[in-house]
């Protein structure tokens, strides 16, 4: 079940490296070298996805290798689930379920946390990383955590494995916090961390083991796909065309978003064509303007909000009617959405989850039980709520995420406004 909760973004650092490799290949073979290809991940599943999934005429919806009806149903149900805890503190809410007993980890005094981070190479992760550090400040002041040693894997599986092993061997860690870079590749390293007998907290993307103390994630990619596709289906007519802009193939949480949405589109009789953009706004504009040349485009679906503004601008530049559109809770999209007045929805991959691992560590050291699979709320921002989120985040930069959940932390709002990335 763990794979359904992975969050993923374009992996820039890797793009640089593969562009270098591509450079060598291009002049030797005089072939290759262009946009989407260089955004490949080393994800174990990417090879299957990169070619087979592209284009609108390939297997889709139920037939897709990324579609799992059981998970679809679970997440569909969780969208309407009741969450335990205070709705004012969604980062501590969870769906009632199995709990992990942590009395064995109860400890006095400040403990050392070790954080193996996949990367901070996209605005979503950067926002979360800032929030996490402000949360850390609070816990250090309270004497719960002595320090947090962080290693950034820079989107590299091998580096993250080395980081985790370093923590195990030399870190002197009291708790491992891991935000995995990819699911399968990170599993053995997480298992090694579990074998140390220290608590292991996994969040965001998952791993294929349940040795962790708690695994923290929002509902997941299917829920995103269901929310967004339902919204488009409600606001469009049967036979309308939707252009789906996808960042990159082969990353399961993104694939799950699309698989779920595509399934609903086909059920509702909506014609959907999908493209990989690498989040490149120039590419997005080309795609939209070519699609507009072919015929009317009634809707735009995105698997992540990066580049939403470029998509809207493409309609403006072509003088076409603005589409019904789903983006993300990134400020750039919320602002453009309000400015243009289009019919839209901002799905959310709850950014406030970056607070939860440290708060979970606090509970663990206090010997309090924590949910074994800690499913956080994941509620899209609707047009009615938009104005509030815009007002609350007025001074925030475009790459900020509205549901970052750090309003009660020290340093708010300057730290987020100035993007003080530690």
């Amino acid at each position: 079940m763990s794979r359904l909760a992975r969050q993923s973004r374009p992996l820039r650092r890797r793009a640089v490296r593969s562009a270098a490799a591509a450079a060598a290949a291009a002049l030797v073979l005089s072939a290759c070298g262009s946009t989407d290809q260089s955004a490949q991940t080393e994800d174990d599943s990417s090879d299957a996805g990169s070619s087979a999934e592209q284009g609108s005429d390939t297997e889709s919806g139920k037939d897709s290798q990324w579609f799992d009806q059981a998970v679809f149903d679970t997440q569909d149900e969780q969208r309407g689930a009741t969450f335990e805890g205070d709705p004012e503190q969604p980062w501590l809410q969870y769906i009632d379920g199995e709990m992990t007993d942590t009395q064995q980890y109860a400890a006095d005094g400040a403990q050392k946390a070790c954080f193996a981070n996949a990367s901070i190479s996209n605005p979503w992760r950067q926002t979360g990383w800032i929030t996490m550090n402000q949360q850390l400040e609070v816990l250090v002041d309270e004497g719960v955590i002595s320090e947090m040693e962080t290693r950034d894997a820079e989107d590299d599986d091998n580096k993250q494995i080395a980081d985790i092993d370093y923590f195990i061997e030399e870190g002197g860690c009291d708790v491992f916090i891991i935000s995995p870079n990819s699911t399968a590749a990170m599993t053995p390293a997480v298992e090694r961390a579990c074998e140390t007998g220290k608590p292991v907290i996994v969040f965001d993307r998952g791993v294929e083991t349940d040795c962790y103390t708690t695994f923290i994630h929002p509902i997941g990619g299917y829920a995103w796909g269901i929310d967004t596709a339902n919204f488009l289906a409600e606001n469009l007519e049967e036979g309308d065309k939707v252009v789906a802009l996808r960042i990159l193939p082969g990353v399961d949480v993104l694939e799950n978003r699309w698989a779920a949405a595509d399934q609903i589109f086909s059920e509702e009789g909506i014609e959907a064509v999908d493209y990989f953009t690498g989040a490149d706004p120039a590419e997005i504009k080309k795609i939209i303007s070519d699609e507009l040349a072919k015929g009317d485009v009634a809707g735009v679906w995105m698997d992540a909000g990066d580049g939403a503004v470029a998509a809207i601008e493409a309609f403006e530049d072509a003088g076409a009617d603005l589409p019904v559109m789903t983006g993300e809770d990134e400020m750039s999209f919320l602002r453009k959405w309000e400015e243009t007045g289009l019919t839209g929805l901002a799905p959310v991959y709850s950014n406030f989850q970056w607070r939860t691992p440290l708060l979970a560590a606090q509970k663990v050291f206090a010997g309090e039980e924590v949910p074994t699979e800690w499913v956080l709320p994941q509620t899209p921002i609707t047009e009615a709520e938009r104005a509030d989120y815009l007002a609350d985040n007025e001074g925030m930069p475009d790459g900020h995420y509205a549901k970052f959940g750090g309003e009660d932390l020290p340093g708010y709002p300057e730290v987020w406004e100035e993007r003080q990335i530690p």
């Binding site: 946009t35 955004a39 284009g55 490149d280």
Partner: protein, 382 residues
């Protein structure tokens, strides 16, 4: 370019390309790879319009050309480097770095537009100078030098952004790429990028007719010969690299408006530029090709991708098509330039070994003695 052969002494037979009436010369020109690309543009345009008639409307055409402007600009920039016998792989990274800088430094403050643009030009020129000097003075192959610059700049972009998008700069600055002149008869909007493209094309065409252009081609054709005939090869090539980085800078400025600020902007553009240049019939290795053909190559490439899209061919095929084009164009152009400009068989000129190199002749190509063995050049072959 044919300029270098235009100075041959009257005792030699003129080249086929210089013979006959204007119409005949035009047709001969079209038969060269550099001319054929214009035919290709026309054919592709007709094919695109056939699949999608609205594409033929003036408004749509103008918008399409504006959209293709960044790659046409970098194709022109890459032309200068390729025709001088080198490569510039750093263009995509230069674009990304300039786009990110514009986003970070200009922000929402209109008064910063001009200073930041000046800074961008300085940085563009600096990158070109570093590429050029490392290639010429240090003797590192340009392939490696510009690969290094590409990685260094990518690293810089990553450092500046952490790999994530920063906000778009003020709309006034983005107007350069997004805006245009209104009230032009026949079309809604005449986009600024298109005006920039026309201006740059004219300037590039003019530059290639100047002594610098002639020397540049001669340098690409045979650097040793150019050196002995008095050209400062290192400086000629360095300036080509500067022109290339500056064209990438200009493309970056336009892309900030057209697309927006994102570290992925410009990714892969160096290959698009190289593809466009070879599609324009410019010979890799230098010494052959016309600058406007490179720009036409860029337009042809974009038309081809649009055609593939209109025909519902998945975008996955784009890389493959690009690769095949590079191979075919390089193979064909090399042969065709030789064939097209060679004197017909049977009318071959007899070699004139007795003719001493003319010291006053500024055209390096007239010094066959300095040609390294194996360096083919059609019209000079015995």
């Amino acid at each position: 370019m044919l300029d270098q052969t235009g100075r041959q002494t009257p005792s030699r037979r003129p080249l086929p390309a210089h013979e006959g009436s204007a119409a005949q010369r035009f047709l001969t020109g079209l038969a060269t790879p550099g001319g054929a690309v214009f035919v290709l543009v026309l054919v592709l345009l007709l094919a695109v319009v056939a699949s999608n008639p609205t594409f033929g409307e003036p408004d749509r055409l103008v918008r399409f050309l504006a959209r293709s402007t960044p790659i046409a600009l970098i194709a022109i920039g890459q032309y200068f480097v390729i025709v001088s016998g080198e490569f510039d792989l750093s263009m995509g990274s230069v674009i990304a770095a300039q786009v990110v800088m514009a986003g970070n430094l200009i922000g929402q403050d209109d008064s910063r537009i001009l200073p930041v643009m000046a800074l961008m030009v300085v940085i563009g020129a600096l990158v070109g100078i570093v590429n050029g000097l490392a290639t010429t003075l240090l003797g590192v192959p340009s392939f490696i030098v510009t690969l290094g610059t590409m990685l260094a700049l990518s690293g810089l972009v990553f450092y500046l952004t952490g790999g994530a998008a920063t906000g778009n700069p003020t709309d006034t600055f983005r107007e350069i790429g997004r805006g245009g002149l209104e009230g032009v008869p026949g079309i809604e909007l005449l986009p600024y990028p298109l005006l920039i493209l026309v201006a740059v094309s004219v300037a590039a065409w003019w530059l290639m007719r100047r002594p610098y252009g002639v020397t540049l081609v001669a340098t690409g054709d045979n650097p040793s010969a150019a050196e002995v005939s008095g050209a400062r090869v290192w400086w000629v090539k360095t300036r080509a690299f500067v022109l290339s980085s500056l064209s990438a800078t200009l493309a970056g400025i336009i892309l900030v408006g057209q697309a927006g600020v994102h570290p992925s902007v410009g990714r892969g553009y160096e290959f698009i530029a190289i593809t466009a240049v070879v599609l324009g019939g410019v010979v890799l290795g230098g010494g052959r090709g016309w600058v406007l053909s490179a720009a036409a190559g860029a337009i042809a490439l974009d038309l081809l991708f649009t055609l593939l899209n209109f025909r519902d061919i998945p975008a996955t095929w784009r890389d493959t098509v690009q690769g095949v084009i590079i191979i075919l164009a390089v193979a064909l152009a090399g042969r065709a330039w030789r064939g097209g400009l060679r004197l017909p068989t049977g009318r071959r000129r007899t070699p004139t070994p007795s003719r001493a190199p003319d010291a006053d002749d500024p055209t390096p190509a007239a010094h066959p003695t300095h040609r390294p063995p194996g360096h083919h050049q059609g019209e000079m072959r015995p």
